[in-house]
Symmetry: C2
Amino acid sequence: MSNSPLDRGPGSSGDADSAGDAGKRLRPARTNATKQKLFEASMELIGERGAAGVTVDEIAAAAGVSKGTVYYNFGSKSDLIAQLLRHGVDILLARLLSVKDTSDDPLAAMGEMIGQAMDFMAEYPSFARLWVSENWRTPSEWQDTFTELRGRLLAVIGAAIDGVAAVYRVDPAVSRGSLETAIFGACFVVGLDRQTYNPERTREQSVAAIMASMRGYVVK
Amino acid sequence: MSNSPLDRGPGSSGDADSAGDAGKRLRPARTNATKQKLFEASMELIGERGAAGVTVDEIAAAAGVSKGTVYYNFGSKSDLIAQLLRHGVDILLARLLSVKDTSDDPLAAMGEMIGQAMDFMAEYPSFARLWVSENWRTPSEWQDTFTELRGRLLAVIGAAIDGVAAVYRVDPAVSRGSLETAIFGACFVVGLDRQTYNPERTREQSVAAIMASMRGYVVK
DNA sequence: CTATTTGAACTGACTGGTCAGTTCAGTTAG
DNA sequence: CTAACTGAACTGACCAGTCAGTTCAAATAG
């Protein structure tokens, strides 16, 4: 395997965290390639067979590294999965936020956000599967992680709903929290269903179906 | 596959409930009790920790029977789970169908169906967790089972949507299939979220949030 | 410029343990 | 009598985590 030490400027791509060591400025950190490969491999395998159904050996083999490397980069299988969840949510959040301020009609902005979510589900279906598989387990090893990440995602959706509510008259019988959840959940499920059972369904059809909630929320 | 000399236990598929079954020539009462206990125990455990995370020994212990009994009643762990899925869907379907013909306003009927779904999720949250955990895995041991059961459920929802579309003017840009999926998914996710993260949310709030899709589907 | 050192990254055999599924002689209850 | 169930032993596979050893580019010394 060729580990080219200079294949990128260190930490320029902006997706991974800055690895947090404050003091040492020499010693180039060429770590990310391996972690990235492990993220991709585990995302795929865990999405297919579930967190408990995949072995660390398989993940290592799929990433083209040895088992020890997994434990060198992550403290445990559980740790790997927790970081995987954060990694995926960071990507999704970045996409949702890229929309947030580009539009003046809040309903259109909402539609674009849902479209971004559909794209994300199509691109990372394994992440979506991992999420729905583990999100509601109690007690779960990743309960705190989920609570935090879920909160971050719902906050973004909630802000978009608030944007709509600020401009349009909305149905007071529908609580914002429940609507957030319904839209959030519908994004995952519609995205996954499209990938698993209805590949012929278009992005626009899916967005339109989820947006029906918003149009029903707005009092015409 | 089935090499167990005893695997012809009591009925291996049509086990939904004792009612309406005419021709059981053997003891029906005792049989169902054990299977029922095994269903309940596995539902609980598998909902908490996932199908792969639960051992047959645990299921047997939780049901208060021996491991051999599990293999006497079901040929395998996989078989147990397949029957568990059918069992749960039968219950949910029965509830949805109990609504279907009792109302004359199709929108109200839809709301009642969603309410029934909420009740089901509250009563069998572990089933809901099992469903969302395994439904979108590919390839999966229960892929065929899921495809069939999903079809049965979506047909009922689809019929309710058709009922609405027959009376109200509806948005032609929203495909029935996608809307079915969105509502179906929202039911699971809103129900699970209510149980896991927002126990204070009322049934009515949840129904209203999901029903927003239908009100948005209808052209006013 | 060359030689040596350092240590982060990585390796893979090994350990101690778990689990699904099998088997079967014996027990209970309809 | 017989179907349903028990309980314990057994097998063969599988697996998370460990650790002593290897590699090699960068740092440092000569």
